[in-house]
């Protein structure tokens, strides 16, 4: 199950598992983002290509307006997944 919350200073906080079953719900939430935004992964244990695609489409849309997503708190397994997908070079990851 994935929980998407709004944290301090408007950051998006992800909690749980971002798998294929959560894509529609997450896409609806990420569609509301219209400017540069921090996405906090500290409590996210899992992500698969469905979750990555939501992040990627959001990043594409924001870049067209000169904005982007800034990801933080990725665990080592998720960080490795980003590297396999080449997304460690696409996203700003703190």
């Amino acid at each position: 199950m994935l929980e998407i919350k709004t944290g301090s200073e408007g950051e998006i906080v992800l909690e749980g598992r971002f798998d294929a079953s959560q894509v529609d719900k997450a896409a609806a939430e990420f569609a509301k983002i219209d400017s540069t935004c921090i996405v906090n992964f500290e409590n996210l244990s899992y992500i698969s290509s469905g979750g990555l695609s939501v992040l990627l489409s959001t990043e594409k849309r924001l870049r067209e307006k000169g904005h982007n997503l800034r990801l933080k708190g990725l665990n080592s397994h998720i960080r490795e997944l980003f590297a396999y997908a080449g997304l460690d070079k696409v996203f700003q990851i703190d």
């Binding site: 798998d19 899992y46 698969s48 290509s49 469905g50 990555l52 489409s57 594409k60 997944l81 396999y84």
Partner: protein, 137 residues
């Protein structure tokens, strides 16, 4: 251990529970369990999306000899589709040229050590092998 899953993306939750039970029972390291979760989810979802009209279940069979885990994911009512024949995904593709799709099979390949495909006329089976390493912890 083997289990059948309905052809629905929401079944990934039960799939994770099944893989987690197997990982716990066999003492798999966290990294190996994570890799198997992602690889099996990607192939399961691929089967659901590419063969939505089938009424048959998708089965997942997990086994280990202590050195590697073998996962057999079988679409019980499928046209032949060999994911191992899909061309390589280029992770260096810039964001503006990235298209939806293709990433899941790339991740399944990247996170495991071998992927083969079997087809017997109705059943399409993908066999994944994940070698267990101490660094997977």
């Amino acid at each position: 251990m083997e289990r059948a899953f309905k052809r629905d993306v929401v079944q990934v939750r039960d799939l994770f529970a099944f893989i987690s039970d197997f990982a716990r029972e066999h003492g798999l390291a966290e990294g190996a369990a994570f890799a198997l979760n992602v690889a099996i989810e990607e192939l399961f979802v691929n089967m659901v999306r590419h063969n939505p009209e089938s009424g048959g279940d998708i089965t997942v069979d997990l086994s280990t000899d202590g050195r590697a885990v073998t996962a057999r994911i079988t679409d019980c009512d499928a046209e032949p589709f060999d994911p191992t024949s899909v061309g390589p995904f280029d992770p260096a593709t810039p964001i503006e040229k990235r298209q939806p799709g293709g990433l899941g099979i790339h991740l399944a390949r990247s996170l495991t050590d071998d992927m083969t495909h079997e087809y017997d006329g109705t059943k399409s089976t993908i066999v994944l092998t994940k070698i267990l390493r101490t660094e997977d912890a």
